[in-house]
Subunit: 211 residues, 2 copies
Amino acid sequence: MANEISSASVPTLRRLPLYLHYLKQLKEKEILYISSTTLAKQLKFEAIQVRKDLAVTGIVGRPKIGYPVSELIKKIERFINWDKTMNAVIVGAGALGSALLGYTGFEDSGLKILSAFDADINKIGSVIHERPVLSLNDLPKYIKENNISVGIITVPASSAQQICDLLVSAKVKSIWNFTPVVLETPKNIIVKNQDPIRGLAELTFRLKHSK
Amino acid sequence: MANEISSASVPTLRRLPLYLHYLKQLKEKEILYISSTTLAKQLKFEAIQVRKDLAVTGIVGRPKIGYPVSELIKKIERFINWDKTMNAVIVGAGALGSALLGYTGFEDSGLKILSAFDADINKIGSVIHERPVLSLNDLPKYIKENNISVGIITVPASSAQQICDLLVSAKVKSIWNFTPVVLETPKNIIVKNQDPIRGLAELTFRLKHSK
């Protein structure tokens, strides 16, 4: 098991959804096979990188024909766990929380955001993109009753740790953190930080050195 | 110059905003020096990693005293170009675009989002978080007149490439892409992909293997 984990680098994991997105378009067009060179060209990766990335899923390409599209989709989905449904809640029904509720990109991923939670009584009881906004007081009970494995945090930074503690004590397995706060969690909790400010430094640094 | 670029890894660049955020809190509390071990403990990094990360900025810590807080803030800001103002526009005034307009995390970064653009006549003329929503037709002229160096794309995936082409032809230097589309751009354009779906695969993969 440990081997399998270390066999996929973070950059590979970040590219797999892009392959998946493109492969599904091919499948819709009833294209049965795709070569690593064509994939590389379309996604602007190197062909050698494509072969290395896809090898982690266990797929075997056929010489001169390429990868079978349907099988590759299934193998990627299985590899990154997108063949399962993972229930999630969003805590923080502000602008970012609402945007994520309306985001259509999760359709392929197995992530099901069931509800949003907020402390603001003006928001509680409302519906955002067909999901109810519930009271923060009901969060622990809801998590236990709905098999929630992902807690998405979109509250202001000043409340992030408190919400994280609440999610952890209610036994979510993972936290998707959209705040800039470095969260304190027990070691068994999976935390993925998604604050855009982290990506911005990459862009601005390259902008400086491109002149 | 090439040496300087290669001396900062992407993980380091992604951590620098977190140091900055924390250091500014220290400065507000009028704390003058901070050790690498304290920084490591607070941000949950390894002390050796903290020293390596901060070394890229050219900062020199004092034995037994630590790093001078104000100087370290300045050096990080200069290193990632956050000591300059970079003007930006958002294209796509939907839920995600609105969320980014309301995001307070950019305050420290030098990124100034001046306006949003949209093709929807129901949105054009409105104001979101104090920024006007302008017509897409006015985008090229606006970019040239307002020294816009960052184009932020938050349109639906199906329009992303078209908007990217428009931004490139209007001579933005960089694109911050919040869509899942792999954009086709000339080599001199800096593209940073920020679609949350890429981060989700990291989380769900680890969730699978943690059981």
